[in-house]
Symmetry: C2
Subunit: 466 residues, 2 copies
């Protein structure tokens, strides 16, 4: 007897969604577009206070570029409810039972628990910031910035802190964006980084350009530093970030050392996890081996189309696509998510940072030999006002010349040029083919040879000569 039958035999199915942000609520909304409430009941559980918000916008809210928290909310619980989606806020799912097709949920405030049966399940539990296992990691004044609730708590601390010293642990996207946000709020900022250069999603030679920009901004960059302890005062509040070599006084600490897929529930339910701890799905975003369970967003691993390996890439744009694909399939349509090429852009003040495809170490790890070139060019025709320098690094496969990756550091107009390479990677183009790309040219937009074309020309020459 199926669950829907057990619930009264009316043929109305129930979709349960775990997680109320991008992937989960996109899936719910798209399923609702395809199936009305008479066909499909939708229940979404969300542990926090908010739905469908832009976690990527938190640094700009903290930094003051975005004034109102609600601006980050694309769709409120009330708006979802008006569309026939039951949203249960402050309700944490504590167990998934795939055999019984039911989830157990706990009211965070009252502690009350109950089971909810489902016909179809979407797991969109997101990711959690890595909290190093060391003394003080959970002290008052130590913050992650993964959820809107996290952002709200951090802003509370910043307002109350009564200090001016901030330490950011980690120098990836979140780390550098939060460093800028804290500078804007008048803090003296130190970034403590385990690697040799910030932005380890770039090769170190490109990361160095980011460091120079950060230092020019007044941020103190500490590299090759492993944090061993967060020192606290008698009041339990953070006092300093301690490494093997030094202690950095801190009135507030922001953790930007990455996130891990939030898959404890899924793992406990016996669902398949990959080497990065994320759920494994098929192309339709169905959990592998499951008929009626889908997963998407920051809790899944995605196929890297360039390396052919699975990766964990927590990014709102993927989460939204996953939700769209899941909702379409749950709603009886057909859609797939073929994979990613690893595109990311970021901004620190007026510095634009972009990457797609493989870094040198990714290529080596994938067993690929490659050629690299680095070119300096400008965002516009050299004679046009506002032309600014940009650096483009390109990797091409040895012999075949297939594009493997592009990294860009520059000013206005630099970052989104990475999209050219993202599409070329998706299409499997060679750098030789790229030299003939018909890209938009006019003096306010590009030199007559777009910087990406210049890099492709040089890369093609290097492939030929090798």
């Amino acid at each position: 007897m199926s669950e829907s039958a057990r619930r009264g035999g009316q043929g109305r199915e129930r979709l349960v969604v775990i997680g109320g942000d991008a992937a989960g609520m996109s899936a719910a909304s798209q399923a609702r577009r395809l199936k009305g409430p008479e066909e499909l009941e939708i229940v979404a559980f969300e542990r926090g206070h908010f739905t469908s918000y832009s976690a990527c916008g938190i640094p700009y809210w903290v930094g003051g570029d975005v004034h109102d928290r609600d601006d980050l909310v694309a769709r409120t619980p009330e708006e979802h409810r008006a569309r026939g989606i039951q949203v249960r806020l402050r309700t944490e799912v504590t167990e998934i039972d795939p055999a019984r097709q039911a989830v157990r949920a706990r009211d965070v405030d009252s502690g009350a628990e109950s089971w909810t049966p489902y016909d179809k399940l979407v797991i969109a539990t997101g990711a959690r910031p890595v909290r190093p296992d060391m003394p003080g990691a959970d002290a008052e004044g130590v913050h992650g910035v993964q959820t809107l609730d996290d952002g709200q708590e951090l802003l509370g601390t910043l307002t109350r802190a009564g200090g001016t010293r901030a330490v950011v642990v980690g120098a990836g996207y979140i780390g550098v964006e939060m460093a800028e946000a804290l500078i804007k709020r008048g803090f003296r900022v130190t970034v403590v980084n385990r690697g040799s250069e910030p932005m380890s999603t770039l090769d170190p030679d490109m990361g160095r350009l980011v460091r120079e920009a950060m230092e020019a901004l007044g941020v103190t960059m500490v590299d090759d530093a492993e944090v061993t302890e967060v020192a606290t005062g008698a009041d339990g509040r953070v006092r300093a970030v301690v490494t093997e070599d030094a202690a950095y006084p801190a009135d507030v600490v922001v953790l930007g050392i990455g996130v891990r897929p939030e898959t404890a529930l899924a793992g406990a339910a016996g669902l398949p996890l990959g080497v990065h701890g994320g759920l494994l799905t098929d192309r339709a975003m169905r959990v592998r081996g499951q008929e009626n369970v889908w997963a998407g967003g920051d809790c899944v691993e995605v196929l890297d189309l360039v390396s052919g390996q699975e990766r964990h890439i927590p990014l709102g744009t993927h989460a939204n696509k996953h939700g769209q694909v899941i909702g379409t399939n749950v709603g009886g349509g057909y859609a797939t998510f073929p994979g990613v090429v690893g595109t990311a852009v970021s901004k620190v003040c007026d510095l634009e940072i972009a990457r797609t495809g493989l870094r040198e170490k990714d290529a080596r790890r994938a067993g690929l030999r490659y050629e690299t070139v680095v070119v300096e060019s400008t965002s516009r025709a050299g004679y046009y006002p506002g032309a600014s320098p940009m650096t483009v690094k390109m990797l091409a496969e040895h012999r075949t010349g297939r594009l493997l990756g592009v990294q860009i550091v520059g000013r206005e107009g630099a970052g989104k040029r990475v999209d050219i390479a993202a599409v070329a990677l998706t299409a499997g183009m060679t750098v030789e083919q790229m030299t003939a790309l018909d890209l938009g040219y006019a003096p306010p937009f590009s030199p007559v040879w777009d910087p990406v074309l210049v890099a492709a020309r040089k890369a093609a020459a290097k492939v030929r000569a090798s």
Copy 2:
């Protein structure tokens, strides 16, 4: 007996280049990189005073954004000569004799003529502005803006004009860019346009957005107007532009009604011309049927990879690529120019205008059935400061869903997004495939669904539903 043998039997070949701008001098420079002066003599004839300049930059020079004419010159005759390229300025080639392998050239100032034999010939004669066959079209004060010499003459007129009324005939790229330039110089500007909307490289519904921006800028737009006469005063200077319905007073007139391939010489020599009057070449940019004659730049037709038909697209970026390909082949290497997808970007004040692929009428002309969508989105996340609206129109082939074209009108960050579509067109992607593209996302760069992805989603849905 070959020409080189006739010239002394030393085995040194002579390359003759007709035209000293982008295509010609890129070809000469690239050939020189591959072959030294001991192997290859290079002689370039240029009718004007300049070499290797950015004709695309002329509107910005006239408008004052670029202060110095020399900023538009990428490489001077002296710089070319220092690299072992003989540049003969103010020397016009008046005849090509492919049978004898020689060209006749005339010194523009002295009128002296002489024949120069060649082993290899590059025809890069460019394009000439269309001058309507009507009274006054050559009057003093009527200017094209095709060459640096043209720009210099126009600036002379603007300085001396003693008036404040400018009429631009034509509302394509050159027309709208020149309208802005003239506004910046304090002129009252009227644009007289034969079509119903400006920018006929866009569909009229998108052209309308450009009109609105032009009018907001203070430009008077006259549509559906055929110019019948340029009225002149007793001094022979322009007084007004006359249409069937009205006369528009003018102290200066700029012709922006397009250009034609400058192929009189090539045609007289019996070389093959296409339906648009441009030279026809193979993929290596060799003139069809010729062993040792190449052609590139504004004087050739190019293959449109989307429609499968030849087009004439005068654009510096193509000319440079042609030159690169020709120079490589002339120098003994191998390179091809596979064709174009018809990408173009332009800017009028802060309005960015972009297109690639086919317009609706191009698709019809190519025998293609299509679906269209138009979406409104923003250049950045809606909550991020500086987010501005942009409109994206997308054409997809009926049934197959193959991307056929994209048009974009918006503000900062809108125009170069067309490159995404340019690469997708080159790769032959469907709009369904495009929905999964891994484009750069962060709030300062894009909404979580890039506007191009939104258009692709809607287009894919329309294809499915049709």
